[in-house]
């Protein structure tokens, strides 16, 4: 009995917090938009009993999903989101890896402080931090002021409301998710392995490529997924820092819900987004599993 409860708890958790909301969203995605409250039909009339349920089922169809394939806005938004997520994951890795490496190589007594510094930004509001990037990146912002006063540029750079600002925002926001798993992989790395590689004829650089990188691979993979997965559906950063040409599915979703009040199409967009995310999430889980096995 106790075992049953123990097993049941995570399933009930999953059911309540994932499956039920998903079914509700899926149901809306299969409905049609209607001027009503809520703004879609059919709605389930429980008082009508079995006949009502049959009525309700017959009202559901895949129209909205078909619509998504017809209007190229949607698949372009998905592709563009994947592209932006992939590019910003790469940038985050390029920025995050050296930081994690430096932290892992730092003297022992420094490490808690450095870890703290990485985590510290999380203690202030995410929105405020994104807004302050607007202050930094805008035409009269601190960045342009500094560069101009140093005489490096004569015209202010236009960064805000471009994809560049989106990349900067994403890299900044998700950097800790990249640093922490890589740091934890590098910290475990035995320094004598690098010496062994050098002893066997590696230069510093090739020892890094042949030993350090492969042995921090799991951290790299974990970090990349932790950045990539939430970035695909990111909404706040592209809408605050991005411009009109920044196409991301999170923004499309928001507009369908709140500007068009087309809940069924918005829900269909969300369902597809979820299906797209399932693949990297499964891969991520598999990587975590492998890591656990390797540590045993």
């Amino acid at each position: 009995m106790r075992r049953l409860i123990l097993i049941a708890v995570p399933y009930i958790w999953l059911l309540a917090l994932f499956l039920v909301p998903f079914i509700i969203v899926l149901k809306i995605a299969l409905s049609d938009a209607w001027l009503a409250i809520p703004p879609y039909v059919p709605t389930l009339d429980i008082s009508a009993g079995w006949a009502g349920f049959k009525d309700f089922l017959s009202g559901l169809d895949f129209e909205n999903f078909i619509f998504l394939t017809e209007d190229d806005l949607y698949w372009k938004a998905y592709l563009s989101s994947l592209k932006i997520a992939a590019i910003s994951t790469l940038f985050t890795l390029l920025v995050g890896y050296p930081i994690a490496y430096g932290m892992a190589k730092a003297p022992d007594e420094w490490r808690p402080t450095l870890l703290m510094l990485v985590i510290l930004p999380f203690w202030t509001s995410f929105l405020i931090r994104v807004y302050s990037w607007m202050g930094i990146l805008s035409q009269e912002g601190y960045l342009n002021q500094t560069l101009m006063s140093l005489g490096l540029i004569s015209e202010p750079l236009i960064i805000l409301n471009t994809n560049a600002a989106v990349y900067i925002g994403i890299v900044y926001t998700y950097l800790p998710f990249m640093i922490l798993p890589i740091y934890s992989a590098l910290e475990k790395l035995d320094a004598s392995l690098i010496e062994a590689a050098e002893d066997l004829g590696c230069s510093r650089l090739s020892a890094f490529w042949l030993v350090t990188i492969p042995l921090s691979k799991q951290g790299i993979i974990a970090g990349c997924f932790l950045v990539f997965i939430p970035t695909i559906g990111e909404f706040v950063i592209p809408s605050l820092l991005g411009g009109s040409q920044t196409l991301m599915i999170g923004k499309v979703l928001w507009e369908e819900f709140f500007s068009n009040r087309d809940w069924p199409v918005a829900s269909a967009v969300a369902v597809i987004l979820l299906l797209i995310l399932v693949i990297p999430i499964i891969l991520f889980q598999r990587n975590e599993q492998k890591q656990r096995e390797a540590n045993e």
């Binding site: 035995d190 004598s192 392995l193 010496e195 062994a196 590689a197 050098e198 002893d199 066997l200 004829g201 590696c202 230069s203 090739s206 042949l210 030993v211 492969p214 042995l215 691979k217």
Partner: protein, 374 residues
């Protein structure tokens, strides 16, 4: 001296493969290696022996190129090594922790160094297979390091460090993690491999038995200095200090005052009412100088009756340590000095002659012990 005795250190024309010239290594103010000068010759199996923290690993790391000497020079085949980085030295090291690459199979671990040389594929494969055969690891070639036992890992580490056929192989406590039985087997294997490959081995150990077993010469270290370098029999029979005598094997140390020389013999007075010990010194002792007389327990004879030998003392058996093949008796002399005497148990236990509290004689010949100054 016959031709086939291997003793290049006695040959004034032999060129050492390694020379330490007044090498000092400091970490901050602390000298881990202190003004060390030593020559090691080709094909030697050279053992560095000393307690933990005496600077053995530091010496090895300087040879491999991971640490630079603070002062002095290290020469390899006559060439100063200071500007040569670790990856350019014809030296390979077997690490104390083995340092096997966990992400590579046994085969790829062994091939790692060969690949750095840019050898053709089939040559690499042939060499790796040869190493696998040498270390009897053929069956485990595809496994990852965490899928094999400690003893097998140790052999992979050895195979990997031998694969590039280095001029010099450094082994830092290579057998530390093995149990006693496997360790003894592996010692003989190491000697065998050293002989087959003709590589110069420098082995670090804190186990004196291991050093004595494998080495052509043993260097005993203490606090960053080498106290004595000699062949195993020499270091055992003629230690140059009480430190070495005590560190290598078991020893009785008796403190006394030098008397007058009588020919090549020296009388040592060492306790009231006890006869002088007569010893054969190798160095000069002034009259009245403090002398330490060191004698190995197996050179002390224990008897019930007064022996014919003039150096004999009466005492009583205090303790008996039965080791199977040997027994060690702790005999207390009238002045409280304990003398350890060891006999081989070549008779069955029921016929052994001594028991606790027995009055016995301990005796030795006048050449059995060594006279030391400190």
């Amino acid at each position: 001296m016959p031709q086939d005795v291997f003793a290049p250190w006695l040959d004034p024309d032999a060129n050492p493969i390694i020379q330490f010239k007044n090498v000092t290594k400091k970490f901050g103010d602390f000298a881990a290696v202190d003004d060390l000068t030593i020559d090691i010759y080709e094909r030697e199996f050279f053992a560095l022996l000393g307690p933990s923290g005496c600077g053995k690993t530091t010496m090895m790391r300087m040879l491999a190129g991971f640490e630079a000497p603070t002062e002095g020079h290290i020469l390899l085949s006559g060439q100063d090594m200071a500007p040569v980085p670790p990856n350019k030295r014809a030296v390979n090291m077997m690490f104390q922790s083995y340092a096997l690459f966990p992400h590579l199979s046994v085969w790829n671990n062994i091939a790692f160094g060969l690949r750095r040389n840019g050898l053709p594929k089939d040559e690499i494969a042939a060499r790796v297979d040869e190493m696998l055969r040498l270390t009897r690891l053929e069956k485990f070639a595809r496994r990852k390091p965490h899928q094999i036992s400690g003893g097998q890992r140790q052999r992979v580490a050895l195979a990997r460090s031998l694969a590039k056929a280095p001029k010099l192989l450094l082994l830092d406590e290579p057998l530390g993690a093995l149990d006693k039985k496997l360790r003894q087997e592996t010692q003989f294997e190491l000697m065998d491999i050293q002989e087959k490959t003709g590589t110069t081995f420098v082995i670090v150990t804190h186990d004196q038995e291991e050093a004595m077993t494998v080495a052509s010469r043993v260097a005993v270290m203490d606090h960053g200095k080498i106290v004595q370098v000699a062949t195993p029999p020499d270091i055992y029979e003629t230690p140059n200090s009480t430190y070495v005598a005590d560190f290598i094997g078991d020893v009785n140390l008796i403190e006394g005052k030098a008397g007058a020389m009588d020919g090549d013999k020296l009388a040592i007075s060492w306790g009231e009412g006890l006869a002088d010990i007569i010893g054969t010194p190798h160095t000069n002792f002034d009259k009245g100088q403090t002398v330490y007389f060191a004698i190995r327990p197996e050179k002390v004879t224990i008897t019930h009756d007064k022996p014919a030998n003039p150096i004999a003392f009466r005492g009583k058996v205090l303790d008996i340590a039965y080791l199977g093949n040997l027994s060690t008796y702790h005999v207390e002399l009238p002045n409280g000095q304990i003398i350890k005497a060891q006999t081989a148990n070549n008779r069955r236990i029921s016929r052994r002659g001594f028991t606790w509290e027995d009055k016995v004689w301990v005796s030795w010949t006048d050449t059995a012990g060594v006279l030391l100054e400190n």
